[in-house]
């Protein structure tokens, strides 16, 4: 992998992978929902949507088709620390991909009509998320676990902000954060590094840097007691979640906590783009045995994601039909107390390490996934953190895992939330057969 920085501050990471005639380009910006001030929650994500709507040199009606003619796919996402855009296509599309990303960085249009039509698309996305009680609980739990840090609000934003934000809010935000000195361009695939770099220089070299974007400096104060949250809404199923404040990706306790998570719920990969597609190996994991094998829950999962600042380690369970939430919670706390008291065994450490090692291999099976990982880690800390991960995992000890359990699983560091379904007063569905209707 070659890392270069252009004169305007754009960081460029290029890795040649000649396994398939493909190339993947990702352009990352250090801006996410943690950079949003009250009243503008959701602006990072909305800006991401606007950046697919045409630029000075890509007319609105020609956005579609540029990458498709190379059989490619494109997309983007926004989360708490980052916003990113990608294209993966046959390697001869490289120049077009770089052209699109350079246009996106500097020349998006933000036509007022497009801003308005996207407002309703995003509200529809938010409502779709609310349809899922598990996702709704997650959002409310996060907002309860943080009282000061902007990680507290959901990336999609709060509805009233989405209803009131203006085109100027969006455009101003875009101009502040979409500058080369706040971005990382990643290219992975069947490319020649020198040639690719020349193309990058040609497309991006003339884009002017901007002032260093202002950051919110809030640090979440230490939590001093357990917080609880009960949501009662019509539904059919009970969901429970426990969130602990957790170390950031660069913290020495991050990898030991990753090992603990593998012991408790099975190892996930660390690829936000692809890992969720493959559930963890967890049949022998402690919480699976304590909750699922005992019939208290139909599923259990853990989530520890690499973040720039301390975020959350969240455990989630779906209670089996008829099991009260707190019965699931008590069984979960029993296991967490035990790991906090006694730590993990050498055999568990060995198993957690093999799982994590396998997941790192599985998560790097395509140019798209490799490029994602380089850019993701560069955006939250540095790409070196990603390349050093295997060694850090291999070096983890039972003592470190025990110390992480002791530090993280304190009852005063947790927020417990559950969704309690209220009976649905259902209207009867109606079936009608019509020859035609308006």
């Amino acid at each position: 992998m070659r890392a270069t920085t252009l004169d305007n501050g754009l960081k460029v990471l290029i890795q040649e992978e000649h396994t398939a005639p493909l190339a993947s380009v990702w352009c990352w910006y250090k801006v996410g929902s943690k950079d949003e001030r009250p009243g503008l929650t959701g602006v990072s994500h909305w800006v991401e949507h606007m950046n697919f709507k045409g630029t000075e040199n890509i007319p609105r009606d020609q956005v579609k088709g540029i990458i498709e003619q190379y059989g490619g796919s494109w997309n983007g996402y926004t989360w708490i620390d980052q916003t990113t855009y990608l294209e993966t296509a046959t390697r001869d599309a490289l120049d077009r991909m770089l052209f699109i990303e350079s246009e996106r960085m500097a020349r998006c249009l933000y036509h007022p009509d497009d801003c308005e039509s996207e407002r309703t698309v995003i509200i529809s996305e938010l409502q779709g998320g609310e349809n899922d009680p598990d996702q709704f609980l997650d959002q409310e739990l996060t907002a309860t676990a943080f009282k000061a840090h902007p990680y507290r609000h959901p990336t999609i934003g709060w509805l009233p902000d989405l209803q009131s934000m203006t085109r100027d809010d969006l455009y101003g935000y875009y101009r502040r954060y979409y500058v080369p000195n706040n971005a990382t361009l990643v290219i992975v695939g069947d490319v020649d590094t020198d040639e690719a770099l020349k193309r990058v220089e040609r497309h991006f070299g003339a884009i002017q840097p901007g002032p260093e974007p202002e950051r919110i400096r809030t640090i979440e104060p230490e939590q001093t007691g357990e917080r609880r949250l009960r949501i009662q809404k019509p539904g059919t199923t009970t969901y429970l979640k426990v969130a602990y404040h957790a170390p950031s990706a660069t913290d020495p306790q991050f990898v030991p906590l990753l090992v603990l998570d593998a012991v408790l719920t099975g190892a996930k990969g660390l690829n936000l783009w692809s890992s969720f597609r493959l559930p963890p190996p967890q049949r022998s994991a402690r919480l699976y045995r304590a909750l699922v094998e005992r019939g208290l829950a139909s599923s259990v999962s853990g989530s520890l994601l690499p973040t720039a600042q301390p975020f959350l380690y969240t455990l989630s369970a779906t209670a089996t039909d008829g099991t009260p939430a707190l019965a699931v919670g008590e069984a979960m706390f029993e296991e967490l107390d035990r790991v906090r008291r006694d730590g993990i065994s050498e055999a568990e450490l060995v198993k957690a390490k093999s799982q994590l090692r396998a997941r790192l291999v599985f998560d790097n099976d395509s140019v798209t996934n490799i490029a994602h990982q380089l850019g993701y880690f560069e955006t939250i800390a540095s790409a070196d953190l990603f390349t050093a991960l295997s060694a850090r995992i291999a070096a983890a000890t039972v003592e470190e895992a025990g110390a992480a359990a002791e530090a993280v699983f304190r009852p005063s560091n947790r927020t417990l939330g559950w969704f309690e379904p209220l009976e649905i007063r259902s209207a009867k569905s109606e079936v009608r057969s019509l020859k035609s209707e308006v």
Binding site: H18, T19, A20, P21, L22, N57, Q62, K64, I66, E68, Q69, Y70, G71, T90, D92, R96, F99, E116, S117, E118, R119, T120, V121, I123, Q127, G128, N131, K233, P234, T236, G266, A267, L278, P279, P281, S284, A285, V292, G295, S298, S299, A319, T320, D321, S354, Q355, A358, V361, F362, N364, D365, S366, V367, I424, S426, A427, S429, R432, L434, S436
Partner: protein
Amino acid sequence: MRPTVSDKPQTSDSRFPQRGLNPQRTVLDNGVTLLVKQTTTTPAVAINLAMRAGSACDPAGAEGTTWLLSRVIDRGTANRSAAEIAEELDSRGITLNITVTRHLFSLVCTCLAEDFEPVLSLLGDIVMSPVLPEPEIATRKGEVVTAIRQDEDNPAVRASETLMALLYPDGHPYGRRTKGSIEIVEALTRADLQRQHAARFAPGELTAVLVGDVDRTRAKEMAARVFGGWRTPPPSSTPLPPVRPATVRRRVVIPMMNKSQADIAYGFTTITRRDPDYYAFWLMNNVFGQYALGGRLGDNIRERQGMAYYVSSALDANVAEGPLVVRAGVSPANVDRAVASIDEEVTSLFAGGATQKELDDSRRYLIGSIPRALETNAAIANFLQTEEFFELGLDYDARLPDLLGAVTLDEVNAAARRALDPDRATVVIAGPYEDKQGG
């Protein structure tokens, strides 16, 4: 200066000649089909075992039997306890994914290359000799019942399942719920699951696809060692009832007033996968509801009207005439407008057809996307299973560009006229919406 946005892509590449996947196919004496493809992209192997024993084989009145079997099959064998299986998988970082579709019961996983032999042997044991222990059945039933309860509160699932039940009525296997109902699941016994396994699992029904960093010969020998001695009689055939296309328009509303957004499922029955018009239907559907962000539907409903975060259509041509389904999630206030817009796009394609440019764009996209679709071991394995199941031929990946290339605009438009007709559409709306049209 305006850079051009329509450079012609170059498709020839001397370093990656169009030699295709070239999998090695072998049929063992007992009828097990093996497909092996060696790759060296990652030090891993994708194992994909598919048994022709999907939910379409559920006994009448006992839908959900195959699904429950899929939840229990890997919880103990004649040679290993559930805990031993768990340990074997977990210690190697393997997630065994067991899925049930209408026609296939599949065990799929990826393992490190160094673990290939023990893992294949374990999977063989699970497929051939499950013991289905009573306590495991009881625990997994609890999980299935919970999952059914979750589905009952999920507008997207309710809309899709109701649509399928309407398109495939009278107990047609495509119209049944794969998980079954709570009542049926609770009544299922160990004997029911054993009977289902004995009746449907047989060597002649199994295709084992192995893709990854494993020597072809070694993979074949290993598979022969695992499955070669398996002898069971072939299952009886399970003919599918005929599919009758709708003759009138139907509309069902499932009010779910506890929800924020309504899900629309709107569809038709179409053709079988073996129908010669399949490629015309594929291209037609790409223009209609796939290309870029949802084809014509996406342009209208998401891009121009800003009504939905997602809208697209999916074509699932299958053994029987599968469905073409439009799905959209919209705000309750926009349901009527969204359905009217889907009708508008259906009518427009039905009556006016696609343009040559649309066809060319979709075709170029689908052909160009083949290398991306075949990049990972798991994706190749899945592709080879489809190839085998529908008897598409071992050179299918190499022939695919020509198959798509040969489709004419007339054929695409004929497919639109055959599949799409607003007067025969079945429309299901599930969400915080009540019918105001006087039904």
